[in-house]
Amino acid sequence: MPISLVYLENSLVYSNALVLLAIGLTMTYLTTKIPNFAHGSLAIIGAYLLFTVVAVYKASIALGFLAAFLAGAAAGLLEYLLVLRPLQRRGTDALGLMIATLGVDIFLIGVLNIYADIVRGMNPVTGTSRDWSLRSFVLTRVAGLTEGTWISIGLVAFSLIALYLLLTRTKFGVAMRASIENPQLAQVLGVNVDLVYAVSWLIAGGLAGLAGGLMSFVLRINPATGSLEVVSVFAASIVGGLQSLLGGVVGGYLVGLSETIGTRLLGELLGLTGITAYRKVVSLALIVVVLLVAPEGLMGVNWRKLLRRMRGKAQKAEA
């Protein structure tokens, strides 16, 4: 059975969402040096905001994404300011900080569940506030592709260009890169590292919010979706190497496409049904392979050296 256009579109939308999430996760990882286990739930906050604007108040999708960005950004910023920074000031070690993000995650899942119960009383168009999807809202075809696909492409392109310009063309962006590279030195040179870190969390949360909105186009969302999707986000970041934002982009597409198209092909090859169960196994397998072969991720591999060595071996084999 050939893979249909709709399936390809869905996998593209999902991959785009993963790219936004992986960039955000990498950004926060670079600042606090620990993975944010609540990152998936930040995305679902965005998804619920989009849901509220579109399905309850019947406003435009653009307004919904704005709300999703703002809510995600606020949640990310608060997580950093109220939990992680105070703990870092107290000298909590990496283990303690990771547990704290787990605590934030479960708190957010609780908040989302409560919110879902409250929204149910506001009679959303989709009829349910648990296990919903906005797929039917973005199915109009424009120039061959669905609206949802265009929105996801537009959001990712816009976010990547904006982030690139911010990091390379503005003084603040340079300060940001400096404080990530060497916080002490940046501080000595008068960079407000605290502000820079707070802004990183704000941006990361906002991107996660957007990604959550995109996910609601292709997945069924419930308050616990984030705690499962975080596996794919980690896979994307680890494949990219956890150290570079470009790695997040590459990892996001690689993991997103292999989770959707790869699982589909694998399922057909092995004659398995119910492929959704094996999606996260594909992500797990990617994590395992990358950690065993190249723990620094794709961006950490010295490709030129590897290529030269392979060529050298090939020549030796010929000789």
Binding site: A100, G110, I287, V288
Partner: protein, 379 residues
């Protein structure tokens, strides 16, 4: 509201929760508290143990049935005799009845479940940690979490385990149930599960306490406090971490198998991250990391808190526009963060373990000609 609080202490089900969680949190303590391994996939081992307890009595029990009993069953199900099929409840009931008539067989199956659960748990603990054991702790945390989540989704969809509907599991503890029910207990199965689980918990506590006081315990703490130093003294840090995870996972798998045997119903979603990773971490951190007694205390406190929320749910439900079950999550999440901020060492902080009793140490110091030891001089 005082009545449910006191009342709960007389419920065997409450103490069963305490005993099961005690095993899991003690096993996490040796991994995370003592050795510093961030096992964020604790529910993986519990899940694996529960899978063994759900699958083995059914599949093996069905295979061991004598031909005439099998034929009787086949007549009832119309020739279909698959444990996880549409006649699961019927088959499980028939097996339970057969086990009740053959207590020796059920005892053997029960012990086999525990042994297999421990072995499979240890293997899974090693497998899940192997790719990242050499790397920094955050990679290990991510890998363990991802492995646990992926496994749960697969188990939830596996047709061999009844898929999303779950399974009814035959009772392998029926030999003890029969003895207990003769004593006139109203809920014999819970009580008999409690007896076994409490016994296991006591043994686990004693074993881990011995480990903690032994040279092995000091080595594990050394790995946690300074990996480079431990390595420079010739210790293979990666291997020690993997071994610790194998022991911790084996113990957690036994707890999962016992819990599953107690509930007699398999449902993959019962073994989720919130119940068997978050709560367990909260118990250990609240009680005191690297302190077994503290971990037990934290376990007791949090099981009590959780039961109180459950008991009083119906009282507060009318005043809330949402299901009060979610308060569970808010309390747990906030508690984790607050404890980390206010009292990161927990209720009972870690104690320094002396290789010899204090008095013997002082004697030794004296015989070596050290200045007469006042209080604290031997430290």
């Amino acid at each position: 509201m005082a009545v449910p609080v006191i009342g709960v202490l007389f419920e065997p089900s409450f103490w069963l929760w305490v005993a099961v969680y005690a095993i899991v949190s003690l096993s996490l303590n040796i991994e995370a508290g003592v050795t510093g391994i961030p096992n964020f996939g604790k529910h993986l081992a519990v899940l694996v143990g529960a899978i063994v307890a759900a699958a083995l009595p059914g599949y093996l029990g069905l295979a061991l049935l004598p031909a005439d009993v099998k034929q009787q069953l086949e007549a009832m199900t119309g020739g279909q005799l698959s444990y996880a099929g549409s006649y699961n409840t019927l088959i499980a009931d028939a097996l339970s009845r057969y086990f009740a008539e053959h207590p020796a067989l059920s005892l053997a199956l029960f012990l086999l479940v525990l042994v297999v659960a421990a072995l499979v748990g240890a293997a899974v603990g090693w497998l899940a940690a192997y790719p990242a054991a050499r790397l920094r702790e955050d990679y290990l945390a991510i890998t363990l979490l991802a492995a646990a989540e992926a496994s749960m989704i697969v188990a939830y969809n596996a047709p061999q385990l009844g898929g999303t509907l779950g399974l009814t599991v035959p009772n392998t503890l029926v030999w003890l149930d029969n003895i207990v029910s003769r004593l006139g207990v109203s809920d014999p199965h819970t009580v008999s599960t409690l007896i076994i689980t409490a016994l296991v918990a006591v043994v686990v506590f004693a074993y881990l306490e011995l480990v903690l006081r032994s040279p092995m315990g000091r080595l594990l703490k050394g790995v946690r406090d300074n990996e480079a130093a431990a390595e420079s003294l010739g210790k293979d840090v990666t291997r020690i971490k993997l071994k610790t995870l194998m022991i911790g996972s084996a113990l957690a798998a036994i707890a999962g198998a016992l819990f599953m045997t107690g509930s007699l119903g398999w449902m993959a979603t019962s073994y989720n991250r919130v119940s068997w990773t978050f709560w367990v971490w909260a118990m250990m951190i609240l009680g005191g990391m690297a302190n077994n007694l503290g971990t037990l205390l934290g376990t007791f406190i949090l099981v009590l808190v959780r039961q109180m929320i459950t008991y009083n749910k119906t009282l507060i439900a009318p005043y809330l526009p949402f299901d009060p079950a979610w308060l569970d999550y808010l309390v747990l999440g906030a508690l984790l963060v607050v404890v980390l901020m206010v009292r990161p060492q927990g209720v009972l902080p870690e104690k320094t373990m002396y290789p010899l009793p204090r008095s013997r140490l002082e004697e030794k110091a004296k015989s070596l000609g050290a200045p007469a030891s006042g209080r604290g001089a031997a430290r």
